[in-house]
Amino acid sequence: MKHFFGFVRKEFHHIFRDRRTLIILFGIPVAQMLLFGYIITTEVKDARIAILDHSKDETTRKIINKLASSGYFIIAKYLSHEQEIEACFRQGTVKEVVVFEPDFAQKLQNEKMASVHLIADASDANSANLIVNYTGAVINDFIAKENTSSALPLQIISEPRMLYNPELKGVYMFVPGTMAMILVLICALLTSVSIVREKELGTMEVLLVSPLKPLQIVLGKVTPYIFLSFVNVITILLLSNFVFGLPVRGSITLLLAESFLFISLALSLGILISSSTSSQQMAMVASMLGLMLPSILLSGFIFPIDNMPGWIQWICYINPTTYFIIILKNIMLKGLGFMSVWKETAILAGMTLFLLGVSTKKFKVRLG
């Protein structure tokens, strides 16, 4: 046992000596959380629009003022010709042009109906959709206020309610994803690289003839990374709680237990990679392409799985990160208990057992 602890201490020294990697390791989750918390939003704010007012009357001026003061838009340009719209979009200076038809106020007065044309630059389809929707809402709101004397007939009011995340903050989605990503990064990537390095440098032989048992070598290698992972998980949870006001709604014990399950899974993946590759670069490429990319893109972290074509959904469903993210979302954000995640937990546990079995077997084969 003494040998074992000595070995673990050596591993810790190895990790703490490489300051740059260490800083990045703690920097990534912090930077990511701050990025997603403050910068990455899809809400419409200060969208630059242009006005093409063929009517230039009292009513259109009022609507333009409303648009400008709504906070959603900045009126960047006033156009005088239809031809200018194309040039505006090509320069990318505005995202939408609001066109009022001639005699707008008059038509509204006499015929009770006037048209406004919203032309959006839909090369970014989702933003275009949101911007058009917001513009429509501002205009409808204007006309509803103008009509206060006689209420609009037969009006259907739709009341949206955003469950779990009423302010539509990006952090809600990114906390679980970041946690999963950083665990894969530390447990799978770093572990595999650190074991392969011993192989590449030839020091693995030295370890194998030492009084340590192979199992102890592997355990000694992974212990510091388990520790690092937990420190990172706790950093992320503290940040999300104190900086973004996102508390863990479910049980923290359950959350940590599930994290531990996922950590063991990622570690066994790392060991598996290290026993199937012989150079650091190969291990890095394998864990980057085989684990990092799928865990970011094919896990429901950023992109909803339902939108993907069937064959990609299959890849998502053999990707363990997918299940871990579902578990995290259910516990952290929805505040559900173990009963809601037992299926995912069972799948993860099964995968872990399988991978552990395969990787220890492979490791032994190499020793023989």
Binding site: R90, V132, Q155
Partner: protein
Amino acid sequence: MMLPVIFIIPLVQLLILVNAANMEMKHIKICIMDNDLSSWSRLITGKFGNSKFFTVQSNTFSMEEARQQIENGRADMVLHIPPGFERNLVRENKAKTQLLFNAINGTVAGISNAYATQIIAGANREIIMEWYGNPKTQGGVAAINIIPSFWYNPDMNYKIFMVPAILVLLVTLIGMMLATLNIVREKEMGNIEQINVTPIRKIHFVTGKLLPFWIIALVMLAIGLLIGKLIYNIPMLGSLPLLFVVAGIYLLAMLGFGLMISNGAATQQQAMFVMFFFILIFIMMSGIFTPTDSMPHWAQTINYLNPVSYFMRIIRMILLKGSGFMDILRDFIILLCYGIAVITLAVFRYRKVS
């Protein structure tokens, strides 16, 4: 060995990433809770059923069940039409419908809400027309007819938005990552010492190291564009030579960054991590998924230093909107100065002695 990789990487990236990185809302799973069951409420639910954006997953009458559907992820949203909806609409001239969204993914919820609101507004117009016969005389109250039109992408196809972005990713990763790792590998292996004692001038060494990757990245871009055209039929409205000139300049900046990282890193692992960190931030801030306009001002200011954001903007403008040289002049000049500055600084800082 290298040749198949050059073809396979862009193909795989475009096939998997473009399909995976999809914010196109086509199958929003909706649970309908119609407690009114009147002809008008059926008109609304029917509209949701016919919409290409929504897939009706289930029908229920209890709120309990509807919420459970959201909780276990079987539905993304619930449309609740309360009892007495039609009666209220006629008697009080207004009636409410409630929409519940699973808003953990705020973007998806926001966009789903936008689509749902449009559908309900459309149904509302139909109901008014049905009731009054003529839309222009809706009980003497004025209304504004809002006509939206979506240029450059009337089908709201998210893929043509994503393909250029994936190409940027491809060029960046190949150009920067391969070049950096290549130099650091020489360092780690000790080969660099041998090169350092040869009479080769450092400018020649650096050019010799970077030029192949510069060329490979541009070739990748060409292949990627070809694949994008063949598989996704992305529009190419603007001038391709202009695009390649911009890409060449952009790569100068990214290769310069790569060189700087390799100057500082001792091992491949370190270089990899530092690069991963910067590329992640550069790409996330570049407007790859979210508009840069809605970022806070300080972030937009920082973004002036982010080369990826220039290229991301320009490639979309050229391909999707046919922007010409004069349209991108300002970004072009900034990127050019930036590229030259970074690469000069990086070469200057490179030391032949370790």
